[in-house]
Amino acid sequence: MKRLPVIALGLSALLLAGRSPAAAQAKPWLHVQVEEEKGAKVHVNVPLSLVEVAMKAAHEPIFDDQHIRLGGRHGKSLRVSDARRMWEELKAAGDTDFVTVRDADVGDTVTVSRKGDLVQVRVDGDQGSDRVMVDVPVALVDALFASEGEELNVHGAIQELSKRRGDVVRVENKNDRVRVWIDEGS
């Protein structure tokens, strides 16, 4: 259990999603798998409907006081309306690389880009040792911001997430693996 940040990363990615089209009527399940080479293995399998209910409990601490709180209650915050404006600007830019950061010391390259219906976050280590892949469907972020003022539409975002099948988040490095995916099996 030494690598709680990795677990937190996996779980915090519940809101993020990716690419495949909507499945028919079958109920979607969210799976989280965190495996450390010499440590804990955590597997979570829950229906997405249960995640939606659980999100209500998380809603207040994360979206407290009409702000998106980053880094906990005492962390920095961003007004929802400002985040919505930023998102509109980014969306209007179309397919492009928003951010590319190369850290020569560590050897990591971080890219955030828009590719069609997805916003993709990629982190690639120097010799393929570290890999992070996060795919956020544009429709999901649209749904999240589809409300007025300082409100976030978490229900709408989960509905969008329920249309997805396949990997949502994948993090791999030398010692740890995190995978978040959605399918129709328990």
Partner: protein
């Protein structure tokens, strides 16, 4: 005639006792100590609670817990509706935690270092009833005890080396 009435009364009482729900607490402090088994008829426990003042049977919950009550009730409903599944599995060295849904029961299994073992079999109906019994942020002990009627079999079993505690409802 009197013998017939007495016999019928005894039979009725026997049948009543047999059909009653019992909470059985089984404690074995260690290998050498005597084993203690306490069967308590649930009806008797409920009757005994009638002699406890109301104010002592209502347990106030703190504000944080109150806020999460509606969500907890919804979660219980979702748990009831979902099919059987391994919900959470955590393995860390010799420690494991497993939470699963099997039928109407939420199973929690904790193993630690090969010595400690906690098994909880929580009937989801029982959980829902207890959550419903917490009206405006106050746990109603009477309703919580009555909720045990929904349970059957071993509810909690804890082993720590030679120590052993088991709570069952029959």
């Amino acid at each position: 005639m009197l013998i017939k009435i007495a016999g019928a009364t005894l039979l009725a009482a026997g049948a009543g006792l047999a059909s009653m729900d019992y909470v059985v607490v089984d404690v074995r402090p260690d290998r050498d100590a005597p084993r203690i088994i306490v069967p308590v008829p649930l009806l008797a426990a409920e009757a005994a609670l009638n002699f406890v003042p109301d104010r002592d049977l209502r347990v106030d919950m703190d504000e944080d817990a109150k806020r999460f009550l509606p969500v907890a009730r919804e979660l219980a409903g979702e748990l009831r509706a979902m099919p059987d599944a391994e919900i959470v599995t955590v393995e860390d060295g010799s420690d494991t935690v497993r939470v699963a849904k099997r039928g109407d029961v939420l199973e929690i299994r904790v193993r630690s270092g090969g010595r400690e073992q906690v098994d909880v079999n929580l009937p989801i109906d029982c959980l829902a009833e207890v959550l419903e019994s917490i009206g405006s942020g106050r746990l109603d002990v009477r309703r919580a005890v009555s909720a045990l009627h929904q349970a059957e079999g071993t509810i909690v079993e804890v082993r720590n080396g030679e120590e052993h505690v088991k709570v069952s409802v029959w």
